[in-house]
Symmetry: C2
Subunit: 153 residues, 2 copies
């Protein structure tokens, strides 16, 4: 674990209290590191017999978003996917077959985006680039047998 995030400080700075539930939700998010959806967190807590209601998980995630520890990245199939927001900015390749999220970053694209915004006198705040398709693993697997679509989860 390279970076140590002082969740207590971050919460208290903004007048939020440090509660058992918030700590558990936060630990689980850090443990995941990758992309996840709300139900992942809810189920994990259930399994570990830690109690935090679904409502609390939602409320906690919203707070974490507010203090910048969490990003709401992708809306796909009526679900919202999150990731830890302390990483550097990047975009995503999303596999339509297995639901995998692959991260990439490209400076050229970012530069061109800036240029486009200038052309339109548009002040950018954030952006989202998602490329949907079939990942390497699934392409290889397709050689053997055809498989149906899946929704990421």
């Amino acid at each position: 674990m390279k970076q140590k995030i002082d969740i207590e400080k971050l919460l208290k700075e903004r007048g939020f209290k440090l509660t058992k539930q918030r700590i558990e939700v936060f630990n689980e998010i850090l443990r995941k590191r990758g992309h996840f959806e709300i139900e992942d967190i809810v189920h994990f807590l259930r399994k570990k017999n830690l109690k935090a209601s679904r409502a609390t998980v939602y409320r906690t995630l919203n707070i974490l978003k507010e203090i910048g520890l969490l990003k709401e990245v992708i809306k796909f199939g009526n679900k919202t996917y999150y990731e830890v927001g302390t990483k550097d900015h990047h975009d995503h390749l999303i596999c339509l077959n297995c639901g995998k999220f692959i991260e990439f970053h490209n400076d050229e694209i970012e530069k061109i985006q800036e240029r486009i915004c200038n052309e339109f006198n548009f002040k950018p705040v954030y952006h989202r680039l998602e490329i949907y398709g079939i990942c390497e693993d699934c392409l290889n697997r397709e050689d053997d047998s055809k498989s149906g679509d899946k929704i990421p989860g």
Copy 2:
């Protein structure tokens, strides 16, 4: 109206029937040309006293998506926004203040995306690039008075 789309042919080719409701929904979409959400269609039909239930509108939009006349473009604030799918591919600047969608297209970005996909042995199917920020009009208006956030609609 430059292009004439033969909705009857497109539907029948795939074994769909040509019904009053489908024609009305389709006409309204063509009339709009820009971006819209389901409720826009539902309300319009109500106002014109044309009857197509909300369920039928949903079902019709899904069929139109299937036959490629419609694209589901953007998920924002738990809503789905659509646009006519016969236009050339383009991406979007989205104003966080007034909800305006501005279209742009950039070949360089598309090329770079291809390159990235190659690097990852990823077979792209479609992509989505959305830049969120403040549009020119809203920036100008901000000089006079500060205004709160709005959700596009």
